[in-house]
């Protein structure tokens, strides 16, 4: 990767410093709502409705979080259940998505499969419309399959993600085929080659698949809205949205819930961002 630095020196030039200040100000501005949310989550009652509103909390407390556990248990479903649903659904979909997507991307990238071009074009076209378009038929399908209000409905439709496969295939094309050929000569079958050579080499790509899948499933409010009927099957983002309907009075609890909702994807991203950028380098559509 070409790494270009200013002036090739280790000292900050004045221009560089100025630029950095400007970018820092921009970055802070971008993050303000997020920071505000985090801060509000930890504010005690007295500080919540202060006028003028403050960006810092003087006496941080965990009371909002404990309120959250109490408040939602009045609805006969403990908060933890929503969290569990989200974690469970996300984990299964993400795992399935990464494995199936990679398995499908491998032959498309490395074996010259008849019809491969057509198949890839089909998958690529999946990137060109939003999932809203398939909402209704999916809803009807799920009802007919008897999957309404079960985990199946929340999990199965989301596994075959074109984005994940696309990134994986583009990345795999850069992997030198010589290594694979060598393994074939040595007698390894495709399954072994896939798991022992290809996947480890493609760590960056499937890490990226992982992240994007997590982002889309974790934050999804549509699937649970349409596919669940009972409170107990709702996932976290939907539960928060319904809580939000109760108005400004519960700002602290809402902020706490939003905090719980937003932190996991961010943390995952923090750990894997280098890999993500590496994968994105190959993310172009050649047309």
């Amino acid at each position: 990767m070409a790494r270009v630095r200013f002036a090739g020196s280790n000292r900050f030039t004045f221009r560089e410093l100025l630029f950095m200040l400007f970018m820092t100000a921009l970055a802070v501005f971008f993050l303000l709502p997020v920071v505000y949310m985090i801060v509000t989550a930890f504010k005690p009652m007295e500080e919540l409705f202060l006028f003028p509103p403050r960006f810092w909390v003087y006496r941080p407390t965990l009371k909002n979080f404990s309120n959250l556990l109490v408040a939602t248990s009045q609805g006969s479903v403990p908060f933890v259940r929503y969290l569990f649903n989200s974690i469970f659904v996300t984990s299964v979909v993400v795992t399935g998505s990464v494995i199936l997507g990679s398995m499908c991307a491998y032959p498309l990238a490395k074996h010259n499969v008849p019809g491969g071009g057509l198949i890839f074009a089909l998958i690529l076209s999946g990137l060109m419309f939003s999932s809203e378009v398939t909402q209704i038929p999916r809803y009807l399908m799920v009802t007919r399959l008897g999957w309404m209000d079960t985990y199946w409905a929340l999990i199965v439709p989301g596994i075959a993600s074109p984005l994940g496969l696309f990134l994986m295939k583009q990345f795999l094309e850069q992997v030198p085929t010589a290594i694979l050929e060598q393994a074939r000569v040595d007698g390894a079958n495709e399954w072994q080659i896939f798991w022992k050579i290809v996947m480890p080499m493609a760590k960056a790509a499937w890490s990226t698949q992982l992240i994007f899948a997590i982002f889309s499933v974790w934050n999804d409010t549509w699937a649970p809205l349409v596919f669940t009927r009972s409170e107990a099957m709702k996932t976290l983002p939907l539960a928060i949205q319904t809580l939000g309907g109760s108005g400004i009075a519960r700002v602290g609890a809402m902020a706490a819930a939003t905090f719980i909702l937003s932190m996991p994807p961010l943390i995952v991203f923090l750990f894997l961002q280098k890999r993500v950028l590496e994968t994105m380098a190959h993310s172009g559509i050649k047309g």
Binding site: R5, M37, C104, I119, L127, I136, A160, T258, F269, L277
Partner: protein, 307 residues
């Protein structure tokens, strides 16, 4: 004629033979493809079929030909508002988000600590959808709302503004928030693409007389980045036409006088509130054709196949 048939069957036979040899490949691809076709491709066609029917889930679908489309385009006032809103929306947040993600990526790609800054700009796109309620609070119509508070203290306004209820302000506010969230996957693609333009090209260009950053970008950077530019464009098109969640959280669903009603909102309304599946399917077909058409258009413009 006989010769043609003979060579056709020869070719078919050899393709079939090759397919049998590559049996393993197909096995690898099968699980994904089965799910993909079942839950993505087939629904598309089902949706298209449904758009020509009247279907309220209680009775079986009844074929009514183009009636849905006729009412949609000729009689449905709200749809017209929705299209207007969606187009306004898409043509602002789409390009703005797209150029912003390129521009910010370009600003960042030579900096120290660029990953930190990248994270700062990328966060809204990840966390943003959940923050709808936060924005509602920030833009709250009384003097406690953050926006009103700051503006009043700076003396810019003297009375609180009803950001989320004033029909004229709703669109700009939603657009503002959407732009804030727009530095997503496309942004990352641009960043990565920029970092991968070979250094030597810039040096060679400098020797050849390219003088400033602008020329450099136009002649070297952009052409090298065509694939990423296309990728980001396709994603941008799709996402700017699918706006719904954050807007609904902020201004309500339906919004005052349908000011923030987008095509997707209209779709949701007819599908899951009124349960008029046929009509809703027609709306979804319109959405599909629009985003798909635009994406193909961009593919034609930004194709780098012959590079």
């Amino acid at each position: 004629m006989a010769a043609w048939t003979a060579s056709m069957s020869e070719r078919l036979a050899s393709v079939w033979g090759e397919m049998k040899k590559k049996k393993v490949s197909y096995l690898f691809m099968a699980p994904f493809l089965i799910l993909y076709v079942w839950f993505t491709i087939i629904p598309i066609f089902q949706g298209m079929y449904l758009s020509f029917t009247y279907f309220n889930v209680l009775e079986p679908p009844r074929w009514i030909g183009l009636a849905n489309f006729r009412s949609l385009f000729l009689e449905d006032e709200i749809f017209r508002i929705a299209i207007g809103n969606t187009l306004k929306f898409a043509f602002i947040t789409g390009p703005v988000g797209y150029f912003a993600s390129f521009f910010f990526a370009w600003l960042l790609h030579k900096m120290r600590f660029r990953l930190v800054y990248a994270l700062a700009f990328y966060t809204p796109s990840v966390v943003g959808p959940g923050l709808g309620f936060m924005w509602k609070y920030i833009f709250s119509g009384d003097q406690y709302g953050l926006a009103n508070n700051v503006l009043m203290r700076l003396g810019i306004i003297h009375e609180p503004i009803l950001w989320t209820q004033d029909v004229d302000l709703i669109m700009p506010v939603v657009i503002f928030v959407a732009c804030w969230m727009s530095l997503g996957t496309g942004f990352l693609a641009h960043l990565a693409g920029l970092q991968n333009v070979p250094h030597e090209l810039y040096e060679a260009a400098a020797i050849d007389g390219v003088r400033n950053a602008l020329e450099e970008v136009w002649y070297i950077t952009l052409p090298m980045m065509r694939p990423q530019l296309l990728f980001a464009a396709v994603l941008s098109v799709v996402s700017s036409f699918s706006v719904f969640g954050v807007a609904a959280d902020m201004v309500g669903f339906p919004s005052p006088l349908y000011a923030a009603h987008t095509v997707v909102a209209h779709l949701r309304d007819y599908a899951f509130i009124r349960f008029e599946m046929g009509y809703a399917a027609a709306i979804s077909v319109v959405l599909l054709l629009t985003t798909f058409g635009l994406s193909r258009l961009f593919m034609r413009i930004l194709s780098s196949k012959d590079m």
